[in-house]
Symmetry: C2
Subunit: 422 residues, 2 copies
């Protein structure tokens, strides 16, 4: 495999035309290779016109009327229904609102309430910190125990003490993915509720929440869904749970007015809306919802090109190519690929560890125009978004990484200075 092979691969790629959906002209012109869509997806061209429309016309001219005339009030459900098609959920089952952290708080609270009499929340030690922090505080307040184990030990900890098993489908650190169906089945067999965080899965690989029989899920709008910085997040609950909540009048912990059965009656007492709608709390961030919808649409545009199956196929080809090139061109440079080689065990990123010098190497690489990121203590992360990442980008990224190593330019002391955000 050489660079020309990569160019040919791009020419044959059925997803290649979808790259034109993104505003990458100036990024390309600057020689930047963006491999950080797992942190912040790139800008869909449609979001430029859409934000202008929302700001200048819907807000500027429609003003308060736009809640009905522009459909702001129904936007959460409309976008939720689109996301549902990407993750094996049904229409009306997803609420788009708040942040992933806040939605996880809602999901955890609900899962605990629906599974009383058990003492533990079980999760994995290297789960994304915000998930662990939310669970840690909630566990303290509810007198529960948050038990964090290594990934291989999860199954053996699934016993009748576990109220909830909470996992992130694709690890932000290593890109390892869980077998969602198998783990969910094990959790259900043990009588535990299963909550999946899809932050690094939604839009990146096929997810089948109903097929797996999961209980709750949350996810992020600004990574592989390309929804823009701080885009609204989402929450899903299996309809068997929302049906029970409907019957029992269950109230979410964040019982805000837009989760009320009749928000515009302005009643003094709270009565939860039916279904997932109860998990909406306050007034939604309309602008951030608008860009999120544009982002979700970029993924849905793959529908006639194999949909998530086509995306998955290219994702695996990109990550496989990256790992082979790292093996071949960076041998003896101290790197260890920590992302699983097995296709069914990895998501759409590759993480490589470098003892001691990972941070400086990543900064020097970014200075050369390849944008990945660093996660302590030693991980260089590279995300591959099949909608806009090309095979030739993979080649060029590894080529520049090799140059950074060969030239030793990463030893420049300026690259050792930690930025506020890494």
């Amino acid at each position: 495999m050489n660079r020309a092979d990569c160019v040919n691969e791009d020419a044959r790629d059925p997803l290649a035309p979808l790259r034109a959906q993104f505003a990458l002209d100036r990024v390309d012109a600057a020689g930047v290779i963006y491999l950080d869509g797992n942190s912040l997806g790139v800008l869909p061209k449609s979001a430029i016109a859409r934000t202008r429309e929302v700001v200048e016309n819907e807000w500027g001219v429609g003003l308060i009327r736009s809640w009905t005339t522009a459909g702001w009030i129904d936007r959460s459900q409309r976008i939720g229904d689109k996301i549902a098609r990407l993750i094996g959920a049904g229409p009306g089952e997803i609420a788009v609102a708040d942040s992933t952290s806040v939605n996880l708080f809602k999901a955890l609270t609900a899962a605990i309430a629906l599974n009383p009499g058990r003492s533990r929340i079980l999760s994995e030690k290297t789960n994304f910190p915000t998930d662990l922090y939310i669970a840690e505080t909630l566990a303290r307040e509810r007198g529960l125990e948050l038990v964090l184990v290594d990934q291989p030990d999860i199954a053996s900890h699934l016993d009748d003490r576990v109220a909830v098993l909470m996992l992130t489908h694709a690890s932000y650190r290593t890109g390892r993915i869980y077998d969602m169906a198998a783990i969910t089945s094990a959790a259900k067999s043990a009588g535990a509720m299963m909550i999946w965080d899809l932050a690094h899965s939604a839009g990146a690989l096929p997810v089948d929440l109903h097929g797996a029989g999961a209980d709750f899920a949350v996810g992020c709008g600004y990574k592989y869904l390309n929804g823009g910085p701080g885009a609204a997040a989402f929450i899903w609950a299996h309809p068997r749970h929302t049906a029970r909540m409907d019957r029992e009048g269950w109230r979410p912990p964040l019982s805000g007015w837009l989760g009320h059965a009749q928000p515009f009656a302005f009643a003094s007492h709270y009565e939860p809306a039916n279904g997932i709608q109860r998990f909406i709390c306050g007034t939604p961030a309309v602008l951030s919802m608008a860009t999120l919808e544009c982002g979700v649409d970029t993924v849905l545009a793959a529908a006639d090109r194999g949909g998530m199956t086509g995306i998955r196929k290219k994702s695996l080809a990109l990550t496989d190519l990256f790992m082979r090139l790292v093996d071949g061109r960076l041998a003896g440079r101290g790197f260890t690929i920590v992302t699983p080689r097995e296709p069914d065990q990895r998501g759409s990123q590759v993480s490589i560890a470098h003892p001691d010098d990972g941070y400086a190497i990543m900064q020097a690489l970014i200075a050369r125009g390849v944008i990945g990121d660093f996660r302590p203590p030693d991980i260089l992360r590279f995300g591959f978004t099949p909608l806009y990442t090309r095979f030739v980008d993979v080649w060029d990224a590894v080529d520049r990484l090799a140059s950074v190593l060969h030239s030793a330019e990463w030893r420049d002391p300026k690259y050792a200075v930690r930025a506020a955000v890494t």
Copy 2:
């Protein structure tokens, strides 16, 4: 007072030049008089260029780097410091994040934790519903009692059972404002924590949280702060409380990663950030923060025109004029002004009640281009934002309202059909 007098009043108005900050050309050209800035403030012109910059350059080209290079990571504090200048708070004391509902949940949880051993949350019956809903659920979960009383009965209910008194400074229904200093003092004397919701105060009238000795406050970004639909909200805590939280390592209930002492260390265990920063939870909605800052800047632009004092003076003149015109021109039409006549008891809106026909009258008025809104069961609300509402707008609005009544066009059955959002 006739229309020519109003035109003269506008010519003498020192705040009049500030109207040019807003994108009102097409609103004016359509003959629309917007008196709903208490629901959604109008679009600042600066927000048009700013959203383009954030979308097309910061997101589109800066991509993930913009968290540092464009300062996204510090935006909450920067905007918070600006809001602080409008409400008598200090720098570093306000976090801009999430929605008002979510922030109220944080503030209530903190206030209860800091004042243990008491059994009640006290509030007022017609407080904004989301405040009551959040308090109702939290009270249930904590085994507390939410006691709702009429406004005149608040003082007599302040006893040693009250952990928290939670009030909205300016009523969304009547526009009545509380004497913040007096009520806060009474609450403190009774040993209660005082939480103020400034949704209808921030940017509308002078607020002095430190002067009043308040404990916590929350507020909304999209009303008088002109921050755009669903703009981020804010939370304030008196530094004596955040200092205590620092000493005791107090963790907020929504302990998300951006409220961590070292978010980018990605530690497994939660350690709260110092000060108000701990109340930030997940990743902020960057776009909505950008428009919020533009909106806050429109209020700060009044600084050399008397600041909040100048805004307040004009606000009272506008609402006084409106009430006098309603008195004079709508006598015998069944209206009752429910907003206090006393200047020190009203905010920047006027509410008039009309038995039975209020909804239809408001819809007919909106069809004539005067945008107010309706709140059940019988209230027509009119908001006056001194930065862009003119005296002549007040005249014309009442003139059209009189025409709607005289013509009886509001009796058209189409105006009786309730919209999803009223």
